[in-house]
């Protein structure tokens, strides 16, 4: 489903209407849903997760979301996760495994 999304998502936000500038304001997914770049996806084994939040800390794309009442549980935002595997590499409890995309 994600792969069907168009690349024609507006990259640029024109700050001043009188100039066309390569300027963007910080926003979620300014470059579109980069999750479609992924060839391996991280899958979190909730049973093994000790809520240390290292995956959240290390994720270079801020694609690990903190959820739950205490914001101490994690889940992957697959819209933006590029599948780099850093979270799986860093997890001390081997609670994240990389699964090949189908």
């Amino acid at each position: 489903m994600l792969k069907q999304l168009s690349w024609l998502i507006l990259l640029l936000e024109v700050v001043e209407l009188s100039y066309i500038l390569p300027v963007s304001k910080p926003s979620e997914g300014a470059s579109g849903f980069t999750g479609i770049w992924r060839s391996f996806k991280p899958v979190i084994d909730v049973g093994k997760c000790r809520k240390c939040l290292l995956c959240w800390l290390y994720c270079p794309e801020a694609a690990i979301k903190r959820v739950g009442d205490d914001y101490m549980s994690v889940e992957v935002d697959y819209r933006y996760c590029k599948g780099c595997g850093i979270c799986a590499n860093e997890c001390p409890f081997k609670a994240i495994i990389m699964v090949k995309e189908g």
């Binding site: 700050v15 500038l21 304001k25």
Partner: protein, 395 residues
């Protein structure tokens, strides 16, 4: 009252930057630019100029610092030359293509090898297409006037592009001439308040933005076209800034070119930079002998004075273009530009190459050049490949 002092071209640059109340200076020393930044450093140290002097390890970083300063709306200045400009090159393009209004003095010097510290225009002209407005100065007074005007031009909302002021190594940079220094209060009135610029965009930690990010082909061309629109507007802005400058100093710069006795001339020589002075003297000399010759000095190379050139050169018998630069495998860079600007106008154009690596271009050289043009016009011959003036063992 303006006061007159005996200044080198480099000191004229430094005084102009001080009068413009630049806020951030970042530069790396290189012969023959060094005394510009030394003098500015003195001004900062003595408290005469309230600016941040950023010491850097290279020209590449110097331009990066100036771009950063300009991105916050500050008035930034740098100066370099030759190999320094080439080392800075990547960021020169970044400043031009990113619409960062700042001013840089470039003391034109030949590129090595062979090693040279003397004048040649290839360093500046290598950055012809980088989105910078490019001025060439003829004398030290014009150097001072151009630096000040450049801030008014680059910070104008219709332009917002960086400006390069080129001055010939040693011939201007280290030669002392009387220079009239305007009153600080006049310049304060002439230029916008330093740091007041808010366009085209301003970096502000409270309202963050990203500039120059990856841009897909769907949007790229429009951003380039925006620069071209600015360059076109700059033609008018440069003239307005020059006129207003004349009102406060008495020195009017109201055209992109200087037409020296071209009106009734049959033969016109196109030239830039310091050697225009010698060419004017040759024009006067030959006029006295009855030759109808004139000099067309280009003040700007970008934006190119296309209309002026076509207006002044049409109907002439012969046009000469004198280049203190060379594009190997083609000819003089200005010769190529002038030829393209005059396309469709039936006038023969002969290129001349001279003064490379600081070789003297003398009055006699210009008399010789004009007489060759007169002779070619009289005999009705087609232009030849560029003639190298004073080339030993060949001509």
């Amino acid at each position: 009252m303006a006061k007159t002092e005996i200044l080198t071209g480099n000191y004229a640059v430094a005084y102009a930057a001080k009068l413009s109340r630049v806020q951030v200076i970042s530069a790396y020393p290189i012969t023959p630019q060094t005394s510009i930044v030394e003098k500015l450093d003195e001004f900062v140290e003595s408290g005469e100029l309230n600016a941040k002097y950023v010491r850097v390890e290279s020209e590449h970083s110097a331009m990066a610092a100036c771009i950063g300063a300009a991105a916050t709306g500050a008035r930034a200045f740098t100066a370099t030359s030759s190999h320094g400009l080439m080392y800075m090159s990547e960021l020169v393009w970044w400043a031009g293509l990113g619409k960062f209004p700042l001013v840089m003095a470039v003391v034109c010097r030949a590129l090595a090898p062979p090693w040279s510290i003397w004048s040649e225009h290839n360093d500046v002209l290598a950055h012809r297409d980088s989105g910078w407005i490019i001025f060439f100065a003829e004398d030290n007074q014009e150097v001072l006037d151009l630096i000040i005007q450049s801030y008014r031009i680059c910070e104008d909302e219709r332009v917002l592009q960086p400006v390069m002021v080129a001055l010939d190594a040693f011939i201007l940079s280290h030669t002392s001439m009387p220079v009239s220094i305007p009153e600080q209060s006049d310049i304060d009135e002439y230029l916008p308040t330093p740091g007041s610029r808010r366009k085209p965009f301003i970096l502000d930690p409270d309202d963050p933005l990203t500039h120059g990010n990856l841009t897909y082909p769907e949007y790229f061309m429009e951003i380039r076209y925006e620069i071209e629109k600015s360059m076109n507007s700059a033609r008018r802005v440069i003239i307005e800034a020059g006129r207003r400058y004349g009102e406060i100093t008495g020195r009017y710069y109201d055209s992109l070119v200087e037409d020296y006795r071209c009106g009734d001339a049959d033969i016109v020589l196109v030239n830039v930079g310091s050697s225009c002075g010698d060419a004017k003297e040759a024009v006067d000399l030959l006029r006295d002998e009855g030759y109808k010759v004139g000099l067309l000095k280009l003040r700007t190379v970008r934006p190119f004075p296309f209309e002026d050139l076509r207006r002044i050169c049409s109907g002439k018998r012969y046009i000469g273009v004198f280049d203190r630069n060379y594009s190997f495998g083609y000819g003089g860079i200005l010769h190529c530009e002038v030829s393209s600007a005059l396309s469709g106008i039936k006038v023969p154009i002969q290129g001349f190459i001279g003064g490379l690596g600081g070789r003297d271009i003398t009055l006699d050289d210009y008399v010789w050049v004009f007489k060759i043009l007169v002779d070619m016009a009289d005999r009705g011959v087609e232009p030849k490949p560029p003639i190298w003036v004073g080339l030993r063992g060949v001509v």
